[in-house]
C-alpha cells in the first residue's frame, strides 16, 4: 500500500544550489524529509477522476515511530515526514490506513464517456470496408528523465521549488491552485535550460513537486522527495490525456476519412486530485487545427473549450499519420503515395518528393519484418505534417516530412533511431545546417523520453557520457522559395560529439508543431521493424518487448533459425554416409586386411642414449602428442581417454605410455612406425585419421626412432582404452583402407629443391610433426584434409575455429613472418593478440624447440599468407583499424552496456598505463573478423589462459560462462562484431551457435 521513499541507498543528501549554479552540493540536509504519499486506488478515465476515499488513519500503528515522524493528512492525501529518509520510509511501512473503494466510474461517465465512444469515427455508410482505430497520448510520458531530489520550500506567501520539470507553466498553474498563491509568487528553479525543452508532455516529477509543496506548507519547513521510478505508478494511474479516433473507408484511395477528437482532459498533479482541489480533470485541451488532407472531415467545432490553440496538434498528427500508415499497410500500398494522393498542397507534395528521393524510399510495404543478421529488427517509417501559422493561415504554415529508420533489439526491446531524413518548408528560407543543428539539440531529449532504455552500469554524475551515440544520423533539407530542394548530398552521418561544437549561424527553436510528425514516423518505423502497432507513446523498451512477445509467443529468432540449421546439418551427414558406403563396397574387394605385428618385450630403459631420448622429447613437443593423449588437465600425461567429437562419432585417444597391457609397451619399433606412417595399429586394425598419421608419415626415420625411444623411456601407466562411439558405417574400421587409398600419402617428406633450406625445414616441421593442417585445413565429407587452395584455409576443431593460414586469412593486419614468429614463440603478436584455446598448448610445446625451428615454421607459414607488409605499414593499418572502431555503432545498447560493465575495464584504453590491460585492441583481433563467431564465444565463455612461455606478461582473461546468459552473450558478441569489425557482415545464427558451444564445452 505504501510506496515511494525519499530514501535512496546513499546517506549523502544533496540539494541544488540556488539558480544559476549547475553543481550539486553535498552534506546539506533539508530540515524535513517527506516520505511521500500512499497509493490509493486511482482511476482516471476519459477525463473523470476517482480514487479510493480515506476513512481512517490508525496513528497507533506507528508506535514509537510516532515521536519522530509527522503525518500530513489532507482529504485523501497522506504523507509521512521525518528528519531522515530512512526514518520516513520505516515509519510509513508501519502506518495503517483504511480506505473505501473508489467509486465505480462507469456510473459517472456522463457526457465525457459518451464523447469518447468514437463519435467522430462514425462514417456515413460504407462501414463494411472501413477501418477505425484509436490513438492515445498519456497524461505523463514518463516519471522523469533521471532520478534526483525534488525540493520544496513553501511559506504562506511564496513558494520555491527545485525540480526538473518539462512543463513549468502547467506546474506553476497546478501549484497556484494547490497552494492558493498567485503564479508570480511561485519560483521554479530548474537545471533544464530552455534549449533542452521537451514538448512531448508532462512528467511525473510535477506530481512529486506538488507533493513536496503541499507537505512543505503543512510542516512549515523545506521538504525533499526522492524522485525515481516509483513514480511510474502515477504514469500508469493517470492514463491517457487525449484520445483520437480515426476512421476511414475506401480502398487504395480513401473515400472518406473522419477524425474524432476523444476526451482530452490533461490531468493535473496528483496531489490536486487527492486533496480534492480538482474534482475532475482540468479544462479540455485546446482545440486542434484541421487536417491538411482531402476527405478529412473537419474536426467538430462543437467541442468544449474556449480559446483556440494547437496544443494537441501534435497528438492529432500522431493519430492521423499513424492511421495513414496502418491503412496503406493493410491495403499493401505505399504509405507515402497515399499521402500524396490526398494532398492538394503543391508545396507539401514537393517536400514529400524531396524527402522521398533523399532517403531513397522504396515504394511498397515490406512483407515480413526485416532482420539485419545481428538479430536486430530494422524498419523505416514516414510521416508528414502541415500546420497553420500563428495567424491560422495554412499557406504560410509549416510543412514537415520525416523518414525515420529504427533498429530494435528484440531481446531487450530497446530502440535506436539510426537515421533521420527531415524535410521542412516553413514558408521562409532556413539554412539546412541550422535546421539540422536544431534537430540535433532537441531530438536527444525528445527521443530519450520516447524511447528511453535502461541506464548504463556506472554513471559518473555530470561527467557521464550518457548522451553518447543516441543521436541518429540526421539529414535535414529545406525547400527554397520556389519549392525546389537543393541538390542531394550524402547524409551527414554526424558523430554525436559534434553536437556541441557544430557551428550554428543563427538560433532556431523548433516548435512542437515542427516535431509533430516525428513521433508518428518513429511509430510507423517500429511497425515496419516489428509488425506491432504502437498507438500510444512512449515506446519504451518494456512495451516493445511485450509487443514482440505477444506477436511471436516466444523467441522469434530461435523459431526462425533453428529448423534451418538442423536441416542443413542432416543433409550433409546423409551425403557423407551415402558416399562412404559405396566407397567401402569397392574397397573391400581390393584390399586385404593388414596383419598384426607380434608383440615384443618392452625395450630396456637404457637401450637408447640420452641424446636420442631428448631429441624424441622435442619431436613429441613439436607434435603436441600429450595435448590429445592426456585425458584431463593435471592428469597423468599420455594415458589417453580424451574424447574427440567428429561428424562420424566420438573417438577416444589411446594410452601412449609404455604400459605392457594397456599402452604401447609391447609395440616393436616396426609396429610403431607402421602406426605413425600408415595409420595401422599393432594388431592390424585401422586407426582413424583423427590421429594425424597423414602428417606424421612425413617424419624422418631418425625423428621417428627418437620419438619411439622417448615414449618408451616414460613411466608406464595402466589405463585401459575407451571404446569409440562411431556411427554406422564408420564403426567398421576396415573401411579406412579405402580411405587411405584415396587420401593418404605415406611417403616421407621430400625437400623442395627450389626453396630455401629454412623453408624446407619449416615445411618439414609444419607438415610433419607439427601437423598444422590437421587443424587449419578444412576437411571433406569423408574427413580428409583438403589440399590445393584449401590447404591451411581454416577449419573447425573442438568447438574452436582454427583460422585460415592462407590467402583467405581474415586478419585485419596481414601477418608477417616476424609477427608469426612472435606469436609462435611468445603466444602474442603485437597486431594480432594472444594464443588461446587449443593453440595455447601448441605455443607452449613450441617453446621447447630451438629458436631456429620456430623461425622456420614462421617462414614456411608466412609463404602461404597474403602479401606481408612492413612494420610501418602494419602500424598504419592498425591505426586505421583503431580509428574505425572508436565510434560505437548504433542499435547495440544491450551489448554496449555489457561491454562497458564486463570488458571495458581491460579492453578500453585510457591515458593511464594499466598493467592488466589487454595490450592488443579488439579491433585487431582476427577472431572478431572471422566468418565464424566460435573463437570469440569460446574466449568469453571460458576465458584465455596465457601460454606458460609468454614471458610472464598478462595475457589472461577470466571466463564469463557463469555470468552471462545466452541472450546476453548474443547481444555482447553482436556488439563486438559491429564495433570492432565494422567492415564485416554480422554473424548469422549467433544465439544458436552460442547455445551449441556452451553445451558442447561445458566443464
Amino acid at each position: 500500500m505504501w510506496r515511494r521513499g525519499v530514501a535512496n541507498e546513499h546517506a549523502c543528501f544533496v540539494r541544488r544550489t540556488p539558480p544559476g549554479s549547475r553543481r550539486f552540493r553535498r552534506s546539506f540536509r533539508p530540515p524535513s524529509l517527506c516520505r511521500g504519499r500512499p497509493a490509493p486506488d486511482v482511476a482516471f478515465h476519459e477525463g473523470r477522476f476517482g480514487c479510493s476515499r480515506l476513512l481512517d488513519i490508525d496513528h497507533a500503528s506507528l508506535g514509537e515511530w510516532a515521536t519522530v515522524t509527522t503525518v500530513v493528512e489532507i482529504a485523501n492525501f497522506v504523507a509521512v515526514v521525518a528528519a531522515d529518509p530512512d526514518l520516513a520510509r520505516q515509519a510509513s511501512r508501519r502506518l495503517r490506513l483504511h480506505w473505501a473503494p473508489p467509486p465505480l466510474l462507469d456510473d459517472h461517465l456522463g457526457a465525457g464517456g459518451e464523447r469518447s465512444g468514437g463519435r467522430g469515427a462514425v462514417l456515413s455508410g460504407r462501414r463494411s470496408d472501413g477501418m477505425s482505430r484509436r490513438y492515445g497520448w498519456p497524461n505523463r510520458l514518463r516519471w522523469g528523465e533521471r532520478a534526483g531530489w525534488v525540493i520544496a520550500d513553501v511559506s504562506p506567501t511564496r513558494a520555491r521549488l527545485w525540480v526538473d520539470t518539462a512543463t513549468p507553466e502547467a506546474l506553476r498553474g497546478d501549484l497556484a491552485a494547490l497552494l492558493s498563491l498567485a503564479p508570480a509568487a511561485i519560483g521554479l528553479s530548474s537545471e533544464r535550460s530552455d534549449q533542452e525543452g521537451v514538448s512531448l508532455g508532462r512528467l511525473a516529477c510535477d506530481d512529486a513537486a506538488a507533493d513536496a509543496a503541499l507537505v512543505s506548507r503543512q510542516v512549515g519547513a523545506p521538504v525533499a522527495i526522492w524522485l525515481d521510478a516509483d513514480y511510474q505508478r502515477d504514469v500508469d494511474a493517470l492514463g491517457l490525456a487525449e484520445t483520437w479516433d480515426v476512421a476511414a473507408s475506401g480502398g487504395h484511395t480513401l473515400d472518406a476519412l473522419a477524425l474524432g477528437y476523444g476526451a482530452a482532459r490533461p490531468a493535473p498533479a496528483m496531489a490536486l486530485l487527492l486533496t480534492g482541489v480538482t474534482e475532475s480533470a482540468g479544462a479540455p485541451a485546446d482545440r486542434p487545427a484541421r487536417s491538411p488532407y482531402r476527405h478529412a472531415n473537419p474536426v467538430r467545432e462543437d467541442d468544449e473549450g474556449g480559446e483556440s490553440g494547437r496544443a494537441s496538434d501534435r497528438v492529432r498528427v500522431f493519430a492521423e499519420e499513424s492511421f495513414f500508415d496502418e491503412w496503406s499497410r493493410r491495403q499493401a500500398s505505399d504509405p507515402l503515395e497515399l499521402r500524396l494522393r490526398h494532398l492538394d498542397d503543391r508545396r507539401g507534395q514537393a517536400l514529400i518528393e524531396a524527402v522521398r528521393q533523399r532517403a531513397a524510399w522504396h515504394p511498397g510495404p515490406k512483407p515480413d519484418p526485416a532482420e539485419d543478421g545481428v538479430g536486430l529488427l530494422t524498419g523505416r517509417g514516414f510521416a508528414y505534417s502541415h500546420l497553420p501559422d500563428a495567424k491560422g493561415e495554412w499557406e504560410s504554415g509549416t510543412r514537415s516530412a520525416w523518414i525515420a529508420d529504427v533498429s530494435v533489439d528484440p531481446v531487450t526491446g530497446s530502440v535506436q533511431l539510426t537515421r533521420l531524413v527531415v524535410g521542412q518548408d516553413a514558408g521562409e528560407p532556413v539554412d539546412r545546417e541550422v535546421l539540422a543543428s536544431a534537430l540535433r539539440q532537441q531530438l536527444l531529449p525528445e527521443s530519450t523520453l520516447l524511447l528511453r532504455h535502461a541506464d548504463g552500469i556506472d554513471e559518473w554524475g555530470e561527467f557521464a557520457a550518457a548522451s553518447r551515440a543516441t543521436l541518429p544520423a540526421i539529414d535535414a533539407l529545406t525547400l527554397d522559395a520556389g519549392g525546389h530542394a537543393p541538390p542531394a548530398r550524402m547524409p551527414d552521418a554526424l558523430a554525436p560529439n559534434d553536437t556541441a561544437d557544430s557551428p550554428v549561424s543563427m538560433p532556431l527553436r523548433l516548435s512542437a508543431q515542427t516535431l509533430a510528425s516525428g513521433t508518428a514516423a518513429i511509430a510507423n518505423a517500429l511497425f515496419d521493424a516489428t509488425g506491432q502497432r504502437f498507438r500510444e507513446p512512449p515506446f519504451t523498451a518494456a512495451r516493445i518487448r511485450a509487443g514482440l512477445c505477444e506477436s511471436t509467443g516466444g523467441d522469434a529468432r530461435a523459431a526462425r533459425s533453428a529448423p534451418f540449421l538442423g536441416r542443413r546439418r542432416w543433409r550433409w551427414v546423409g551425403a557423407a554416409a551415402a558416399s562412404l558406403i559405396s566407397l567401402g563396397g569397392a574397397a573391400a574387394v581390393g584390399l586385404p586386411w593388414k596383419a598384426a605385428i607380434d608383440p615384443v618385450p618392452r625395450p630396456a630403459a637404457n637401450l637408447y642414449s640420452q641424446a636420442t631420448i631428448e631429441r624424441g622429447r622435442l619431436v613429441a613437443e613439436a607434435g603436441d602428442c600429450a595435448v590429445c593423449h592426456t585425458a584431463s588437465q593435471g592428469g597423468a600425461a599420455n594415458v589417453g581417454g580424451r574424447a574427440f567429437e567428429t561428424p562420424f562419432g566420438i573417438v577416444y585417444s589411446t594410452n601412449l605410455t609404455p604400459d605392457e597391457a594397456t599402452g604401447i609397451g609391447r609395440w616393436s619399433y616396426a609396429a610403431f612406425a607402421r602406426a605413425m606412417r600408415h595409420g595401422i595399429s599393432r594388431d592390424g586394425s585401422h586407426l582413424y585419421p583423427a590421429f594425424p598419421y597423414t602428417a606424421f608419415a612425413k617424419l624422418s626415420d631418425t625423428d621417428l626412432q627418437s620419438l619411439y625411444a622417448y615414449l618408451m623411456a616414460q613411466p608406464a601407466v595402466a589405463s585401459p582404452a575407451v571404446d569409440n562411439q562411431m556411427r554406422f558405417p564408420f564403426n567398421i574400421r576396415g573401411l579406412m583402407a579405402g580411405w587411405n587409398l584415396l587420401y593418404h600419402d605415406p611417403k616421407p617428406f621430400t625437400p623442395d629443391p627450389t626453396r630455401s633450406a629454412l623453408w624446407n625445414r619449416g615445411a618439414y616441421l609444419a607438415e610433419g610433426a607439427g601437423h598444422c593442417s590437421a587443424c587449419h585445413s578444412p576437411r571433406n565429407a569423408l574427413g580428409a584434409e583438403k589440399r590445393g587452395d584449401d590447404h591451411l584455409a581454416g577449419a573447425l576443431v573442438d568447438g574452436w575455429e582454427a583460422p585460415a593460414l592462407s590467402q583467405l586469412s581474415k586478419a585485419p593486419v596481414p601477418w608477417s613472418e616476424t609477427a608469426l614468429y612472435d606469436y609462435l614463440r611468445t603466444g602474442r603478436a603485437a597486431h594480432h593478440g594472444v594464443a588461446a584455446g587449443p593453440m595455447a598448448p601448441v605455443v607452449a610445446g613450441l617453446g621447447e624447440l630451438p629458436e631456429s625451428d620456430v623461425r622456420a615454421i614462421a617462414h614456411y607459414v608466412a609463404s602461404f599468407m597474403p602479401t606481408a607488409v612492413d612494420a610501418a605499414q602494419a602500424s598504419e593499418i592498425a591505426d586505421d583499424r583503431l580509428a574505425l572502431s572508436a565510434a560505437t555503432p548504433p542499435g547495440f545498447d544491450a551489448g554496449e552496456r555489457l561491454y562497458n560493465g564486463a570488458c571495458a575495464s581491460c579492453h578500453e584504453g585510457s591515458d593511464m598505463p594499466v598493467y592488466s590491460r589487454a595490450e592488443t585492441s579488439l579491433a585487431l583481433n582476427t577472431n572478431l573478423h572471422s566468418a565464424r563467431p566460435d573463437n570469440v564465444i569460446q574466449a568469453i565463455l571460458d576465458g584465455v589462459v596465457a601460454p606458460s612461455s609468454s614471458g610472464g606478461s598478462a595475457g589472461e582473461m577470466p571466463g564469463f560462462r557463469a555470468d552471462f546468459s545466452d541472450s546476453q552473450l548474443t547481444a555482447l558478441v553482436s556488439y563486438l562484431r559491429a564495433r570492432f569489425a565494422p567492415d564485416q557482415p554480422a554473424w548469422e545464427h549467433l544465439s544458436a551457435r552460442i547455445g551449441e558451444l556452451r553445451g558442447a564445452s561445458s566443464p
Binding site: S910, D911, V914, S916, E956, P958
Partner: protein, 164 residues
Amino acid sequence: MTDSIALRVNGQIRHLSLDPATPLLQVLRNDLCLNGPKYGCGLGQCGACSVLVEGRVARSCVISLGAVAGRDVVTLEGLGESGRLDPVQAAFVECQAAQCGYCLNGMIMTVRGLLNHCAQPSRDQIVSALKYNLCRCGTHVEILEAATLAAELDAAGVAPGGGE
C-alpha cells in the same frame, strides 16, 4: 606445485612455492596476509583488487602469480608508512571519500598509478582513469575531490609512496 617463484612485494623479495596459475590477489591476501587489495568481482571489472605492478595499476584478481614473477608489486600497505600517509591516502582521508570503503583500495591505487604517470592530471583524466572502478555507495563526488587534492599534495612535494 612447481619451482618457487620470486617477486618483490612492497619492497621485500618473496619466494613462493605455489601454482603459477594462482591469481595474484589470492597470493597477496592468503599467503602474504596483505588485505589491502579486496576481492570484489574476481573478473577484473570492479577494480577493488587493484595493486601496482612496476608502478602501473593492475587488477590482481585476473593476473596470475606466474605473470608477475620477478616483478615489483606494491599494495595499499606499501604506499605510506606508519604516521606518514601517502599523499593519495591523506587526500582521501581529508575529503572523507569513504562510504562503505570497499572500493577505496582500488580508487587509491588507481589514483596513485595515475599520478605516477601524470603529475597534474586534468579532471577529465581523473574521471577517465577511475571510470572502470565501481563505487556502489555513490561517493563519486568525494572521490573526485580527493583525487584532485591528491595531485595538489603530490605537487606540493610530499614524497610519493608508490613504486620504488
